[in-house]
């Protein structure tokens, strides 16, 4: 097994794309994703990664280049954040429809306005419905591993969908962590060369991206949905295979001290490490609290989620984004809907915190647990609540 080295997580993400031997990288710089593309361009400039680095003039073109590249049969990687992801929005729907298995890391950041370069999940939550497989990393090792995993899943002939690996901007992307980085040779044991099923080749002409009239559009969209839902099996299998080869285990839903827990906190991303600290302290005080987090967000791991919350009385959901004019944060509304009609479900309460780089502290998790418990006793609470909102 390789040694752990101290490295900035962004650089580790680039090293993962390098070990995966990406053929084409097209990216546009945006804070806090910049270190990823800078390092990739260095790896190409130094001849460590044999790839075409396409320094595009916008994220819209970044994704367009990626689609063209993947359609021409190249293993394709990109990275973006916030406004960049939003600028790609139109194309994010098209990449899965053309079955182009692009891998993209998203350094999660707040959307404007006001303009804000710091971490939350408003960028990615606005792209929930684009038919990309989406995973969320908690730490640097996971970022590296999930990128390798993403290539394997995306390029699986049964999947052929693009995949996003999310990491929190700054709070994860810019920290230095000890990471075990797999070499290209080690990755080759896990990741076979990309064999596209349909490719733009003058020897075997195909028409990609034709007009879908009303007679075929519904079926075309349904097929994408069905492929995305079926991809979960491949996602899970690929994690099992990863564990066999490299010893690290990943699951769609991760739980921490949920056995016998009455209250479960639900988080995503790197803030889960703070949440674990909070859970440990609360358990010390005899409060029966546990933590779960989604590693896989799309396709939604419904069965795993239900298993994880079974037996709990209260579910306190943390959202790092507002779903304007809705009935709570995007994660909250989704999990509450997932539990509707279940026998003896936990009461679900939503909390929004940590927007635009505002810290989420252990105390905030304590507050969420206390409030959710109180609301549950009264069987009544606000639809959702903002934690750490200043009065003036």
């Amino acid at each position: 097994m390789p040694e752990r080295v101290g490295i900035e997580v962004s650089l580790a993400a680039s090293e993962a794309a390098c070990s995966a031997d990406a053929d084409v990288i097209a990216a546009y710089p945006i804070t806090p994703q910049t270190h990823i593309v800078e390092h990739l361009s260095e790896l190409v400039a130094d001849g460590k990664l044999d790839a075409e680095f396409v320094p595009v003039e916008s994220e819209h073109s970044a994704m367009s280049v990626c689609i063209g590249s993947s359609a021409a049969g190249a293993r394709t990687f990109t990275a973006t954040s916030a406004q960049g992801l939003a600028l790609m929005h139109e194309l994010l729907f098209i990449a899965p429809a053309l079955r182009t298995p692009i891998v993209m890391t998203v350094a999660n950041r707040a959307l404007s306005g006001p303009i804000n370069i710091w971490n939350d999940h408003s960028d990615i939550m606005a792209e929930r419905d684009v038919a990309w497989i989406q995973t969320f990393a908690e730490n640097g090792q996971e970022v590296f591993d999930l990128i390798i995993h993403a290539f394997r899943v995306a390029e699986d002939p049964e999947v052929l969908l693009p995949m996003m690996v999310n990491l929190d901007g700054f709070t994860l992307s810019h920290v230095i962590e000890p990471i075990e980085m797999l070499s290209a040779a080690e990755v080759r044991k896990y990741l076979k060369p990309f064999k596209p099923q349909m490719v733009l080749d003058p020897k075997k002409p195909i028409t990609m991206g034709p007009v879908g009239m009303p007679e075929v559009y519904t079926e075309a969209r349904q097929q994408i949905e069905s492929v995305l839902l079926n991809s979960k099996r491949v996602v899970v299998e690929a994690w099992k295979e990863f564990e066999k080869l490299y010893g690290r285990r990943y699951r769609p839903v991760e739980t921490f001290r949920t056995r016998g827990a009455e209250v479960i906190l639900l988080t995503m991303g790197s803030v889960s490490e703070t949440a674990m600290t909070a859970v440990d302290a609360l358990r010390e005080k005899g409060i029966r609290v546990g933590l779960m987090r989604f590693r896989l967000w799309r396709p939604f791991p419904l069965a795993e989620f239900k298993r994880a919350v079974k037996g709990a009385k209260v579910l306190a959901v943390l959202d790092r984004a507002i779903s304007y004019g809705s009935q709570g944060g995007p994660v909250f509304t989704e999990v509450r809907s997932a539990l509707f009609g279940e026998a003896d479900p936990p009461q679900v309460f939503g909390f929004v915190a940590g927007l635009g780089g505002r810290d989420i502290t252990v105390e905030m998790f304590n507050e969420m647990v206390t409030k959710a418990t109180r609301y549950a006793k009264k069987k009544k609470g606000p639809l959702y609540e903002m934690i750490g909102l200043r009065e003036r």
């Binding site: 075409e52 073109s61 049969g73 053309l98 075997k204 007009v211």
Partner: protein, 325 residues
């Protein structure tokens, strides 16, 4: 100055026209569509060893209503404003895959195609980026001078005075109030090796330019005049005639810019008055004498400026094309 890649290029003549048809007949274009005609000519010249990335637009919808396709060569449509970027990706992919021994080493022409809206307006940024990065590809702008696919709305390539559904003449309006954006000049300003204008009325000239564009290594830009009888309120059988008139009136001059050198493809000794061109089209029917005079002055001035650029270019060679004589 002749680029090495085209130094030995033998011109097409009416006697040796290519027989390949990368774009099949039986597509759904309107009667008299000279856009699909220009596209067909360009593709015939380029041949079957090609991959085409198309923008959204007339040419995309008429050739690809699933489950039918008019494309006998690999073709991809992604969105409206990004044909140049998609082509960039295809080119980059093939370059990497060839270098890494994953596909056979063989040069294939990568074509990006879009209408004037997809080029001069919404796709201008992606085009500029691709030209600046120096990808080895051919960009074809099929200029029918408005957003025809959506119902004849004005673009920045719509000529002054033209009636469109968003530049209607009225009490306070004489139609399109701005002068046509000069995209070939913008392309040439990127210092790319090849820029040319072409017209379906001068088919060997158009085909020679398309072939040269594909032979030259690096970015090439072709601006093809593409009459739209439906949008121009023109009799469908007059699409080629109007194409010829556009050249003979100096409204759409034919030229090449090879490595920065302007070369006139044909010098019009006695240009016809623009009115002869304008009067055949319903989109100009409302123009008064004063506006027509204004257009004439502008056309004369622009043509003179073009001739000066050509005169400044050293070693100016006239095209050997004979089709018009």
């Amino acid at each position: 100055m002749m680029d090495a890649a085209i130094a030995n290029f033998k011109n097409f003549t009416p006697k040796n026209l290519p027989t390949v048809e990368p774009l099949a007949q039986g597509h759904r274009a309107c009667q008299g569509c000279a856009e699909v005609l220009a596209l067909r000519m360009a593709l015939k010249a380029i041949g079957n060893n090609v991959i085409v990335a198309s923008a959204t637009g007339c040419m995309e919808i008429i050739t690809s209503p699933y489950p039918q396709t008019a494309w006998k060569v690999p073709w991809i449509h992604v969105a409206f404003e990004n044909a140049a970027a998609v082509a960039s990706g295809i080119e980059a992919a093939r370059k990497a895959l060839m270098r890494k021994g994953k596909i056979p080493k063989q040069r294939t022409t990568i074509v990006a195609m879009a209408g004037d809206g997809g080029t001069a307006d919404i796709g201008l940024q992606a085009l500029s980026g691709a030209l600046e990065r120096g990808h080895d590809f051919v960009y074809i702008c099929l200029d029918n001078e408005a957003y025809m696919n959506t119902g004849i709305q004005r673009s920045s390539a719509t000529p002054f005075g033209a009636m469109t559904t968003t530049s209607p003449p009225g009490k306070l309006s004489m139609g399109q109030a701005t002068w046509k954006k000069n995209v070939p000049a913008i392309a040439a300003a990127h210092n790319i090796p090849y820029v040319a204008t072409g017209s379906p009325a001068y088919y060997t000239d158009l085909m020679n330019k398309a072939k040269k564009a594909s032979l030259i290594k690096g970015p090439a830009y072709l601006h093809l005049y593409s009459p739209c009888p439906t949008g121009w309120r023109l009799a469908p059988e007059r699409a080629v005639e109007i194409s010829r008139l556009a050249v003979q009136t100096n409204i759409f001059p034919l030229y090449e810019v090879i490595n920065g050198q302007y070369i006139m493809s044909r010098k019009i000794k006695k240009p016809k008055p623009v009115e002869e061109y304008l009067k055949l089209q319903g989109r100009f029917r409302h123009l008064d004498k004063k506006t027509i005079r204004q257009i004439q002055q502008r056309v004369d001035k622009e043509y003179e400026a073009l001739l000066q650029k050509a005169a400044l270019s050293e070693g100016t060679e006239e095209s050997t094309d004979q089709a018009d004589k």
